[in-house]
Amino acid sequence: MDLTINGRRTTIQSDPERPLLWVLRNELDLTGAKYGCGEGQCGACTVLVDGVAVRSCITPLYTVAGREISTIEGLADGERLHPLQQAFLDCDAMQCGYCTCGMIMSAVALLRKSPAPSETEIKQNLDGNICRCGTYNRIVEAVHKAAGVMKVSAKETQHA
């Protein structure tokens, strides 16, 4: 089966029903997506498929063949972090860090469809992601902050 992950094409021999999460983690060693519940309830396994956040633990492999899969490992531009990654650092928006990758990927999808989300919009869109350590308010702050940074850099790009 042909997969495109972080812009790179890979061929995988695997059961087409197998959840994407385990292919990423066990076959491709992309362990940023985490197992948390196996039923799409916690968001720790979130990756993007064609720019949309999906729960990879309940996404069968065959449904993503030929589509664009993005994981946390492909988010930074070399050493330069994505604004959301940087904002999570700046806001100290984590404790154990286990939910962080899924949280960031969900936020990437949100900012893609809504570049300047309200607090309510952020909370609604990320409600499927659990941070058991309880850093929710910091995460909201980080998403706001990243949205601001991305807006400025988008403007700069326009003017350039």
Binding site: T31, K34, C42, E73, Y98
Partner: protein
């Protein structure tokens, strides 16, 4: 006697004199499980805790582990502080039983009050040794020397030597930690500041390897057959179908049946193919408190109430996980645990090994909250790996984590109080049945002869264990609800009533700080808006919470706003402390409002995240945390006690709006029934 892994690790750090474990007790082989170790057994030599390499890299060793509480960062601050250097040159090795001194475990809010002083003592002693060496070498008085950028300098004579150069000339074996040279909190330079989380960049890039992310060459994926209910005995199991699957190992030893396969999909299929017969037995049910001392009547205003709390689960987002590998008779296990040395003992016991033949490594893991003290998953992975002859990774499913770990105990609490016409509590009788004694002592002033607190052990149908704050949450829920009941009955404002009965200055200070910020005096409850407060202290931490709730037309409850004030002595890292308090409040909110393990006939009925509700974004109030920095008081831990006051504050807020007194946690089901 010296651990080879530690020797080779120290060699890999390079340079300097290589100093190995030299603890006399360690060397005397007192490693059997029968020897009950304590703090006094910790090696006194600096070299067991600290290594300074020729290139100036400083490595510190501790058995404490990082589960999100940011102890890696705060202990690094302690070491850097004492060595007068940048935290960037300090690396902590944590929770690797071959490399670090023995440690009891990471629990009880003990790391900051007990481990930080040890690290400080060792680093401060090393600092003094470096200065003495320089003084000797250059023949100058100590007071002319200064330390800068991991160098010792003698400005007058233009002498300059790196820590590494000096360290290499010191006979560290003879250098023993001296607590007298530790820096007082008022002189802290690195501690007391917002050092960012040390490996946060690895977290946001997905590079950090949690336990469940580890992969070894040739590794198999394990699954374990679970009983249908607690206490069930395996009668028989048919493994024939599984045994025919290529790439699969089936292990059947007594009641343990597990599989290890080349991929997780095959392991799952093999598990499903097992046909097992179980003999189930009904759990003993003794869910009642017989023979309680309950009664304390006198002429005062008597209030008599009974409260209860439910079983709840920790739900660490990373379930228990382990990667086990055998090498000859030696066993190495990466395990998600708060107690690596305890898990090492469990593994040694399970396989009849010397503890020195078992190595447990604990990479920073996906949280614990008191839920990862035991080593079942590590033992299971090791069993599978032993038979398979290959490394095995076992990650408990969420359902297994919910079912086969342990729970915060449920319990009932009976309180009778008598309050005089002057608004002083004159008698206090408090009995906790089954949930635990933590935080049971009332901070309110009551004559010793008219006050009793008692914990009666219950017989729990479910496996119970530690949980963030232990029973302090239950006891504070009962006590602080009860205090509000008294205040309401005698018609005194809840804040005033508390202050009238409290002498503890630090507790009064947090209560007043929270109430002022919240503008308690200006809040007037209505039928759909309530205000409540609560306070308490435990394990050296003092917390007060003020809460505002709103109620919809069908009593839909929302916690709108929380103001909390917290004092745990000298603050090591203000931002991380604030984060920790916020997190405890959020976790406390879950237990307060809706978290509850449901069970019947030895089965958990809600062992999934779709069935067991935990706090999510939509549940989170505005949270304002006030930190009180007491540089004159040693730092206490902060991982637990900030959780204890939010539940009673919410219950009291609900009462202020509805006049409904709720006696059981979680509150939402109680509110629906009220």
């Amino acid at each position: 006697m010296l651990k080879l892994t530690r020797r080779s690790f120290l060699e890999s750090l390079g340079g300097g004199l290589l100093v190995l474990f030299t603890s006399s007790k360690e060397a005397a082989g007192q490693e059997s499980g029968t020897h009950r170790r304590s703090h006094e057994d910790l090696p006194p030599e600096v070299s067991a805790w600290l290594h300074i390499a020729l290139d100036n890299r400083i490595t510190a060793f501790t058995g404490k582990v990082e589960v999100g509480q940011n102890i890696r960062t705060s202990l690094t601050q302690a070491v850097a502080d004492e060595l007068r250097c940048s935290p960037a040159v300090v690396t902590l090795v944590m929770g690797d039983t071959d490399l670090v001194p023995w440690d009891m475990g990471t629990f009880g809010s003990r790391s900051t009050p007990t481990m930080a002083p040890v690290m400080r003592k060792m680093a401060a002693t090393a600092r003094e040794a470096l200065l003495s060496q320089a003084s000797l070498e250059w023949n100058v008085e100590r007071e002319h020397l200064r330390m800068e950028g991991a160098f010792v300098l003698n400005g007058a004579a233009n002498h300059r030597a790196s820590y590494g150069e000096l360290a290499a000339k010191i006979d560290w074996v003879k250098v023993v930690g001296n607590a007298d040279v530790v820096t007082a909190p008022i002189h802290w330079q690195v501690a007391g500041t917002d050092l960012p989380k040390i490996n946060a960049r690895e977290m946001v890039t997905g590079k950090h390897r949690f336990v469940s992310d580890h992969k070894l060459p040739g590794m198999l994926y394990g699954r374990v057959l679970r009983a249908p209910s607690f206490r069930a005995k395996l009668v028989s199991v048919d493994t024939r179908a599984a045994s025919k699957m290529p790439g699969l190992t089936v292990v059947h030893e007594g009641d343990f049946v597990g599989v290890a396969a080349t991929d997780e999909r095959l392991a799952e299929k093999a598990l499903a193919s097992l046909e097992a017969k179980w003999e189930e037995s009904q759990p003993k049910s003794s869910d009642s408190a017989q023979g309680l001392v309950f009664g304390n009547s006198n002429d005062d205003t008597i209030v008599k109430s009974a409260y209860q709390v439910a079983y709840i689960a920790h739900v660490p987002l990373e379930p228990r996980a382990a990667v086990a590998q055998w090498n000859g008779g030696k066993l190495t296990v990466f395990a998600g645990t708060q107690v690596p040395f305890g898990v090492r003992s469990e593994l040694a016991g399970a396989f009849g090994l010397a503890e020195s033949d078992v190595r447990v490594l604990m990479p920073d893991t996906g949280s614990g909250y008191g839920g990862k003290h035991s080593g079942e998953c590590a033992i299971e992975a090791a069993r599978l790996a032993k038979v398979a002859g290959k490394p095995v990774k076992l990650i408990w499913t969420r359902e297994e984590e919910f079912t086969w770990a342990y729970f915060r105990p449920a319990g009932r609490i009976y309180v009778t109080s008598g309050t005089g016409a002057n608004g002083k509590i004159n008698s206090w009788n408090f009995v906790n049945w089954s949930s635990g004694p933590a935080g049971i002592k009332t901070p309110y002033e009551v004559d010793e002869t008219r006050r009793a607190e008692q914990f009666l052990e219950g017989d729990s149908p479910l496996r119970v264990g530690s949980y963030r704050g232990l029973a302090s949450t239950a006891n504070h829920f009962a006590r602080e609800s009860h205090i509000d009941e008294i205040a309401a009955k005698i018609g005194v404002d809840p804040l005033t009533f508390r202050l009238n009965n409290l002498k503890n200055d630090r507790l009064r200070a947090v209560l007043e700080a929270a109430a002022n910020r919240f503008q308690w005096a200006k809040q007037t409850p209505t039928a759909n808006r309530g205000f409540g407060l609560a306070c308490g202290f435990d394990k050296g931490g003092h917390i007060a919470c003020c809460v505002e709730v709103s109620l919809g037309p069908s009593r839909q409850l929302k916690v709108e706003r929380v103001v909390a004030a917290w004092d745990c002595g000298a603050i090591v890292n203000p931002n991380h402390l604030r984060n920790q308090v916020e997190g405890a409040l959020v976790m406390g909110l879950g237990g307060a409002l809706f978290e509850e393990i449901e069970h019947a006939n030895g089965r958990i009925s809600n062992p999934r995240l779709s069935q067991y509700r935990v706090p999510r974004f939509s549940d989170i109030p505005k949270i304002d945390v006030i930190l009180i920095d007491r540089r004159d008081v040693p730092s206490a831990g902060a991982g637990e006690t900030p959780i204890v006051a939010i539940a009673p504050a919410i219950a009291n807020a609900i009462f202020s709006a509805t006049k409904l007194r709720l006696y059981s946690m979680p509150l939402l089901p109680a509110l629906a029934k009220a």
